[in-house]
């Protein structure tokens, strides 16, 4: 999807997000992670619960004050941004779709007002008629009926609610959308509908996505590139197909070997790889190293050779 010249929408470098700093129960939820997201791509963030993937999303959208590091959105530093006009433009250009479609919609607001809230705050509609038209168009876009505008959230199913959440995010015409587990609360048959909608919107509106999820098959399907998080550190980044077909880090290998497939014959022979965290314990300084082109692995200086060998074994070209 992206090439060397593609524009970086988001640059995260050395982001640290600690909680309870200086206290006994200090938590290093995100510990020194760096990645870039290019225009028009979907970057998938995977990891177990507690790996820090949601924290990364929340720090990017300015819901937390990062302990250290920098987050640049279209070249502007987000961390510590105080300028009101800039903040407003940031919030317009960056939107979020939440996990739980039941908890993320105000039950006392009509669908019309939920969707139009961002339009009102950013004064995007000049008249009541225009506002109404924008809402109707958005409902069309996400595949809901125009008449649904006057209803309340409880009248909708989970899949429909998630469509309302998507319409709300789209209302302010953002460039970049953070989708935090947008489909994990939905049924299998509905998941496919919502994923297709997200992909279609990306094509039509040139959106850039940060897609956070623990369902590895779905992340692989929707993402162009993938980052694997564990214990708040990024262990591996690369093109989705390459990370899945030729994982280099032990953790990624173990994680992928645990994914069950809807294929009984494969399931009978699948062996799960046990994970030994010796290549990510705190004993050495490690950073992301580009082993194969555009395929980065967290490694210390003396581990680089091992990963290069692994890459060669799998037929990957070295950098």
């Amino acid at each position: 999807m992206e090439d060397q010249n593609a524009k970086k929408v988001l640059e995260v470098s050395h982001l640290k997000q600690y909680f309870n700093v200086g206290k006994k129960d200090e938590v290093k939820a995100v510990d020194d992670i760096s990645f870039d997201i290019y225009e028009g791509e979907t970057f998938g963030l995977v990891g177990e619960s507690g790996s820090g993937k949601t924290t990364v999303g929340r720090a990017i959208i300015h819901l937390y004050h990062p302990t250290d590091g920098s987050i640049k959105f279209n070249g502007d530093e987000v961390v510590g941004m105080k300028d009101k006009a800039k903040l407003q433009s940031l919030r317009q250009n960056m939107q979020m779709i939440f996990q739980d479609p039941y908890a993320s919609l105000n039950p006392r607001m009509k669908v019309r007002d939920i969707i139009a809230e961002g339009i009102d705050i950013n004064h995007l509609a000049k008249s009541k008629e225009e506002r109404e038209k924008m809402v109707a168009d958005l409902l069309d876009t996400v595949g809901l009926n125009r008449d649904h505008a006057s209803r309340y959230p409880h009248e909708f199913s989970g899949g429909q609610r998630q469509r309302i959440g998507i319409a709300r995010a789209l209302a302010v015409e953002p460039e970049f959308i953070i989708a935090d587990e947008p489909i994990s609360a939905l049924d299998v048959s509905i998941q496919a509908q919502v994923v297709n909608l997200l992909k279609q919107l990306q094509r039509e509106r040139h959106l850039t996505y940060l897609f956070i999820a623990h369902d590895l098959s779905m992340v692989k399907y929707i993402s162009d590139r993938i980052g694997v998080l564990h214990y708040g550190r990024m262990l591996e980044i690369g093109d989705a197909d390459e990370v899945y077909n030729h994982p280099l880090h032990d953790y990624t290998r173990s994680l992928l070997s645990a994914v069950p497939a809807p294929d009984p014959e494969y399931e009978r022979t699948r062996t799960q790889l046990a994970y030994d965290p010796k290549y990510e314990d705190g004993s050495k300084d490690r950073e992301l190293v580009e082993i194969a082109p555009r395929h980065w692995v967290q490694a210390s200086q003396d581990e680089i050779e091992m990963y290069q060998k692994r890459a060669q074994e799998q037929g990957l070209p070295l950098v």
Binding site: S189, S217, A258
Partner: protein, 365 residues
């Protein structure tokens, strides 16, 4: 280990719920058998009736539910006709259940050793010390490390995966004949999920429990189940062995479910999805409930409900497409690929059998 003896026979089960809006027909004519030692998976969307079916087996239906017909025979006794007292003797002793969320199914104020021992004290009148000793054995069996020290811990001191192990220990302490597992791994990470599923498989071999496994994760079903029943809108629409359902499905709903789930090999612009939403069971549609979402629907689907058509001795599907007069349809690509894989597997099996046969003949003088 599996035998043909059915320990549970559900026949023509119908369950209604009374609500302010009217009567919801949640279960409409469900029949199935559970054989000794097997794992039967029930798959389907939320609202298709999976959970209600198992709750009726446990005698745990809500107050506004009524059984409109049918029977659930367990050892020649109808569970639906049992008194509360008889049901209490059954639950946790012969039939046990594991729930989806391990945190809400444990008592946060009770030490876990006591919680695991409780079914023994209730059902077998065992003394507390003896029950606790057995609880300790069970904790070791389900893989709780350092069990001696952790027996006096409270649920919040355990991780999600460990909590689910505790729930399993409680369910299995009386060696039940039937274990109902309702989405037991949905709340867990894939790595922990794999551990719990392995544990369930091991324990099933050890104590030969029959398992009813409810999930919407077809990957988990493929690894766990011996047989699969697919439910839609309060009915079973297809059932068969795990190979038959995954490699040679016949019902368009099963086709849709299998192709809408991406695997690690799925590529392409659009994920096949089942358009629309499940029907409102306040007023179930005439004919096949899946017809409005079914791109293969025939005219008769809107008029008359399809009966079960036999595919093999173990495989049945309720779709008019299997009627001899029905037009031939081409299933989605993914399904054809699966059928080809199945044909290949069958061929290989046949060849193996033949080679085996030849070898045997050669050995004979």
């Amino acid at each position: 280990m599996q035998s043909n003896e059915s320990i549970l026979k559900v026949r023509d089960l119908k369950i209604n719920f009374k609500t302010y809006a009217g009567t919801v027909q949640a279960i409409r004519d469900v029949s199935f058998d559970l054989k000794k030692g097997e794992t039967l998976a029930i798959v389907g969307e939320s609202g298709s009736g999976k959970t209600v079916t198992t709750r009726s087996i446990m005698g745990l239906l809500a107050n506004n539910a009524s059984v409109a017909g049918g029977s659930i025979m367990f050892h020649d006794k109808d569970i639906l006709k049992m008194s509360q007292k008889e049901l209490q003797g059954l639950r946790g002793a012969q039939i046990a259940q594991i729930f989806q969320d391990p945190m809400t199914s444990l008592d946060p104020t009770m030490k876990i050793g006591r919680q695991i021992a409780e079914p023994l004290m209730v059902h077998k009148n065992m003394s507390k010390s003896k029950a606790l000793a057995q609880a300790l054995e069970m904790m070791k069996l389900v893989g709780i490390t350092d069990a001696e020290h952790r027996i006096n811990d409270y649920p919040h001191q355990f991780s999600g995966g460990m909590r689910q192990r505790i729930v399993i220990a409680i369910a299995l302490i009386n060696y039940p004949e039937i274990l109902i597992a309702d989405e037991p791994t949905t709340a867990l990470d894939v790595t922990i999920q794999a551990q719990i599923l392995n544990l369930m498989r091991e324990l099933q071999e050890k104590i030969s429990t029959s398992i009813i496994f409810i999930t919407h994760d077809l990957g988990v079903v493929a690894g766990m189940a011996d047989r699969v029943a697919v439910m839609y809108a309060g009915k079973i629409v297809e059932y068969g062995t795990v190979d038959e359902i995954f490699y040679n499905p016949k019902h368009p709903y099963t086709w849709g479910l299998l192709s809408s789930m991406p695997t690690l090999d799925t590529n392409g612009a659009e994920l096949p999805s089942i358009e629309g939403t499940p029907p409102d069971l306040l007023d179930p549609p005439v004919g096949d409930a899946f017809a409005p979402r079914n791109e293969y629907a025939l005219n008769i689907d809107t008029e008359q409900e399809p009966p079960f058509f036999k595919v093999s001795d173990t495989h049945y599907a309720a779709t008019w497409l299997l009627h001899p007069d029905a037009p031939k349809v081409t299933p989605p690509e993914q399904i054809i690929a699966r059928q080809q894989q199945y044909a290949k597997m069958q061929q290989e099996l046949a060849e193996q059998a033949r080679e085996h046969h030849v070898e045997e003949e050669e050995e004979q003088p």
